[in-house]
Amino acid sequence: MHIIESGNVAAASGVKLARAQVIAAYPITPQTPLTEKLSEFVDAGEMQAEYIPVESEHSALAVCIAASSTGARAFTATSANGLLYMVEQVHWAAGARLPIVMCVVNRGIGAPWTVWNDHQDSISQRDAGWIQLYACDHQQIIDTVIQAFLLAETVSIPVMVCYDGYLLSHTYMPFDVPDPDKVDEFLPAFKPAYALDPKQPANLNTVTLPDIRPDVRGNLAPGYMEIRHNLHVDLRRAIDKVAEIDARFQKIFNRGGHPFIEPYCCEDADFIAVCLGSLSYQLRDVVDELREEGLKAGVAGLRLYRPFPEQAMVELLAKAKGVVVFEKALSYGNQGALFTDIKAALYPGPARPFVKNFILGLGGREIKTADLLKTFREACTQGPASIDTPQWIGLKL
């Protein structure tokens, strides 16, 4: 059934359909309406879940970590400085291998304060060991939230579902709410391999020594480095799982088909724009315009940012003459993180397209389609750049 609602309601509806059992969250703009909606669902008895109000984001994720350790399906959501306030627990959840799902409603980070959209918050957590998925519209938000629970529980790694604050969170558009019975078929109840039980007390994630040592039963157990190595290996393996889960979703719901990167007019493209989130959809209109001008342009929206699907990225970009990376985040003092990732992926290949980087939309600075058109057109026609530093769009110095 199609409804017209906000992106936050799309996310909350996904969490409800996924039958999350424990929700703990602290409100922060622009995430607030998502948690409000969930608390309404729980209050109205529409969700059989425990909604635990907390005094901070750190506690929100700590509650989810505890709940997930006992085998409950746990959900939280945050934005910007809220995400940063929970960072210790963000890393902990990944190391502890807990399949928590968290929505990050993307917002710029203070100082100075901003409540508006960019991607610095989630990008700053790219190395935490979580899987990061990005949505481009409301349909992808609700679908991705549902998929995220299955993915997290399949690989025992927490998943962030990231979507643009305000641009998606507070904007209304039509989307299909999946049939609950079909969601139950797609996403069975969570059956953890191990669940903490009061009848069988246990210490989890206690201090490890630099080397391996015997566990309580006398067997040699993995040490810190092995545990972290396994997290990395399992994250890499999760790339295939993302594709499998997308295929399963497509079979049941007839949507999807682009688990890693969503391309638009890329097949014969000489120039391909790459970016995260709703911006990739805005660039579709720019691509249409450039095609009318006779420029073979395309755009690719990256859906899976961590683990980084470099094979798919190389396959997409290898035949292009130029790649233009638009980013709403920056590794300060260096360049856009996605730009670095894409160049690294292309480096071993025989033919390397030129790659350019544009920083835009920080703190909600309006991204005008006309500016995108001009920038993308010039980036293509001017060919390789002599310098590697990112250029800025919409800067008013």
């Binding site: 199609h2 641009l167 904007t171 209304y172 039509p174 709703s278 209109d285 009318e292 991204i367």
Partner: protein, 192 residues
């Protein structure tokens, strides 16, 4: 860009229900075959009583551009005093339509090259038994008559769906009454 998008900007005051009005029209548009519907409220810090606006874009195709409306085809104004504020009609396309809740007739307004539709939504809504100040359903009647994009029946049902627990019939009736009373004029017919 190439695809035809109808852009409607809604102006009201915080708390007046401009977002709800735009959402009702969005729902009616979707049901009427506009598969592309995007409604974007003012982002950030809304306050009761302060001027706010909401962008509504509708198209027969999916809409990918979420950027704010710069050149609206229509402007809907829930409080005629807002027309005294600068920038309310800015960007309106030549031949564009202004729909306003006002006790005054179209001839009292001077917008050369534009069309103007007026209705005293505030008074008409009270006549059907709504509390004074509830104008966000009535204004939809003026929109239905002046814009001609969707029929009153579909809009009426969308109002009832949105207000299913809050006087659905009276709200729908307000829209119907306003539909009948809306006067459409040429924006440059102002008296000398």
């Amino acid at each position: 860009m190439q695809k035809k998008i109808i852009e409607i900007r809604w102006h009201g005051r915080g708390g007046q229900g401009a977002i709800t009005a735009a959402k009702i029209v969005a729902n009616a548009a979707f049901i009427s075959g506009y598969s592309g519907v995007v409604m974007a409220p003012t982002f950030g810090t809304e306050r009761r009583g302060a001027p706010v606006f909401t962008s509504l874009k509708i198209s027969k195709q999916k809409i990918y551009d979420l950027s704010p409306i710069e050149k609206p085809d229509m402007i809907v104004v829930l409080d005629h005093l807002l027309l005294e504020e600068p920038g309310i009609v800015s960007g309106l396309k030549p031949g564009g339509l202004i729909i306003v809740n006002t006790p005054k007739p179209p001839t009292d307004y001077d917008y050369p090259g534009m069309k103007i539709a007026t209705a005293d939504v505030t008074s008409l809504a009270v006549q059907v038994g709504l509390k004074p100040g509830i104008v966000n359903t009535g204004i939809i009647g003026a929109f239905a008559k002046a814009a001609g994009l969707m029929d009153m029946e579909t809009l009426s049902q969308a109002i009832k769906d949105e207000f299913k627990n809050r006087k659905p019939n009276r709200n729908a009736k307000a829209a119907r009454l306003v539909f009948e009373k809306t006067v459409i004029g040429n924006g440059s017919e102002a008296r000398p």
